[in-house]
Symmetry: C2
Subunit: 204 residues, 2 copies
């Protein structure tokens, strides 16, 4: 029975919840969960301690919300990219490029992917994180599988591997690329790698 009240009683918020969440997400993204202190978050959001806790709960809660925001935004971007593609193959390529682009976020261009960073960092230890990430993974897989299936129907990708399986493979390769972007590989090399990889998937 919680309908959004238009004129809520009490002192109104002085901050934009989503802007705060975006700022928190950014910090978690760049620094990781453990390395991000409440002090960092307060500085980034501009809020004071009480306000942050009252609005978002504790640090872990805030992180979960920031992570959800991230995966939603990411999926939306990927969805747009694949929808704009003029072919299945172009869609697959766009998805992989979007991942690289996302991983090359920020000034140092090696922040990586918050979802992947979190997965590798926390593994299966954190149940709430697992829930968010698995759901995100399923949706992401659907995007990949759809693009792959289309490309196979168009005859541009080989058909000797089931679309779901190929989608998984491509997804995993994407994750590998994004992971290594954190270290010894740059964006350009990653792009080359994508093309090399796609060449192994093309129909003969």
């Amino acid at each position: 029975m919680t309908h959004a009240a238009k004129n809520p009683v009490g002192r109104p918020r002085e901050f934009d919840e989503d802007k705060v969440l975006a700022a928190a997400m950014e910090v978690f993204w760049l620094q990781g969960y453990d390395s991000t202190s409440m002090t960092d978050l307060l500085a980034a959001t501009g809020l004071h301690k009480g306000s942050l806790y009252q609005a978002f709960g504790d640090k872990h809660n805030l992180f979960i919300q920031a992570l959800e925001r991230y995966v939603d935004e990411f999926r939306r971007e990927m969805s747009v990219a694949v929808d704009q593609a003029e072919s299945g193959l172009a869609g697959v390529r766009a998805l992989m490029h979007k991942g690289i682009e996302k991983g090359c976020h920020g000034s140092d261009c090696n922040a990586g992917c918050l979802a992947l960073n979190t997965l590798v960092d926390k593994g299966t230890a954190d149940a709430e994180v697992v829930a968010v990430l698995t759901q995100a993974f399923v949706k992401r897989m659907a995007l990949f599988a759809q693009a792959v299936a289309r490309a196979q129907q168009e005859g541009s990708l080989r058909s000797d591997i089931a679309p779901e399986q190929m989608a998984l493979m491509i997804n995993v390769m994407s994750m590998g690329i994004v992971a290594i972007l954190r270290g010894p590989m740059d964006e350009q090399q990653a792009t080359v790698l994508v093309e090399d990889y796609l060449s192994t998937l093309k129909a003969t």
Copy 2:
């Protein structure tokens, strides 16, 4: 001028340095650097605070040594695996399997790879970590490239991609697999994925 003295002056160590390092490595592996407290390390090693600090320096120093131990051991295992292989293709397969096996270490079978975990966690922020990991990466690449080159010469892997580039690609795929082993994928699925992937690399 530091030749190892056979009868060093002073009270002798009561612990095996390498055993302690192995224990510390294990904890860092399972929990990650930030989530591992000195208390955890003391419990795992059985040492007391002063001894640990006196023998290994501070936490970061201990971690670097543990990481070095890890990558050395890993590389040795990979080297053995590839040397035992009866063909180039078998070597490549063995390398990928070794990575999975390593990633499925421990009871929960999802500890991942300490090197990869560290790369994703720290990125380029920690200079000493970067140094260790880049050197390890180079050596690892050499192993992969050698196996790939052999397989290409034997005609079992396609030759339209330069061995170094294909080695990089395989390496990245391996990393992706190990990364996702931390989450929604199990060892068996990973093995299937390896075969699917190798099928895309085989010479036609």
